[in-house]
């Protein structure tokens, strides 16, 4: 055998495969969609309620992801339980994400308090940094380079929105436009990946796979 066998690469490949179904993209796209639509609702519902109004949507999307993983992805791609090294890495990821979310909450709270005092650019820059950090870390821990791209897109959204607001007087700091576009790209990518997975991995006819693969 002339090809070098890399066990690390095999593990990485096995892990990445489980995130090529596009469902994470759709989920993150829904978050971006929240940033696009919440400002439109904030005048009538207030800042908190306009964001909270999205909880049912997230619940629905999570339910869809659970259903799709179980009934669409697993029968086609299969399921795998990863080893302790990967589990420890994901635990580290959860802790880092928790810390980042706390920082994001503090920055978000600060933004509502000092919005009139500091420039909109400062608020947008903080928002951008948090977005970039969260999505880049997601890309790093999931071994999925396209999340770095999403990080850049999401980080540009508040800054581009602020530019639209300052120069073209686009309402709500331009967030509905910029995050709307970002959300659209993420959700469309997710849907395209999901459709591709279904087309590339048709269901084995009459369960031939599971029973035949282990027939005595």
């Amino acid at each position: 055998m002339s090809q070098k066998i890399s066990l690390k690469e095999a593990e990485r490949r096995a892990f990445s495969t489980t995130f090529q179904d596009g469902l994470w993209d759709i989920y993150i796209g829904c978050f971006a969609l929240m940033f696009a639509i919440a400002p439109l609702l904030s005048r009538s519902l207030g800042d908190f309620l306009s964001a909270a109004a999205f909880l049912p949507l997230f619940g629905f999307v999570l339910l869809f992801i659970w259903w799709a993983k179980r009934n669409v992805v697993a029968p086609r791609v299969g399921t795998v339980e990863f080893g302790s090294w990967r589990k420890a890495r994901m635990m580290k990821y959860n802790l880092v994400m928790l810390a980042l979310l706390v920082i994001a909450l503090i920055l978000g709270a600060l933004s509502t308090v000092d919005f009139g005092l500091v420039s909109g650019w400062v608020v947008a820059a903080r928002f951008s940094l948090v977005m970039l950090a969260i999505l880049s870390l997601l890309g790093y821990f999931l071994n999925s380079p396209r999340f770095y791209g999403y990080g850049v897109l999401a980080a540009l959204s508040p800054l581009a929105g602020e530019w639209l607001y300052v120069n073209l007087k686009v309402p709500h700091h331009g967030l509905p436009v910029t995050f709307g576009l970002t959300a659209g790209i993420m959700i469309l990518t997710g849907v395209a990946l999901f459709v591709r997975l279904i087309r590339e991995h048709p269901l084995p006819a009459n369960d031939e796979g599971q029973s035949e693969a282990t027939a005595e």
Partner: protein, 109 residues
């Protein structure tokens, strides 16, 4: 005159190569199972690109050798077969890796 033919001992690492593991398809199956805790056969088939028939043959052979633990069950109404390396299989694969490294490292470029 001295006999310069290699003795059995010179080829010791090569002789130790486990023939059950050494087949490329089985090596692929074991490599994936070595780096994860367990996987179902659908996942293994996708990763190795083997046909169902081939995968079946190789999984059975590895199970016979005591390297794999095959658990047949159901998820809902659909059959689901989960495969994992046994301790013996993990040890055998580790030995195989070591033997191959020994053999290949000594070869000139």
């Amino acid at each position: 005159m001295t006999d310069e033919r290699p003795s059995g001992d010179d080829l010791h690492p090569l002789a130790k190569i486990d023939q059950v593991i050494h087949a490329p398809a089985r090596l692929m199956v074991l490599s994936y199972l070595y780096v994860v805790e367990s996987a179902d056969v659908v996942f293994l088939r996708n990763m190795t690109r083997l046909t169902w028939g081939n995968l079946s043959t190789h999984v059975s052979k590895l199970e016979e050798a005591g390297f794999l633990d095959v658990e047949k069950g159901y998820q809902g109404k659909k059959p689901r077969t989960v495969v994992r390396l046994t301790d013996q299989g993990r040890a055998a694969f580790r030995d195989y890796k070591k033997s191959m490294q020994q053999v290949l490292d000594d070869l000139p470029d």
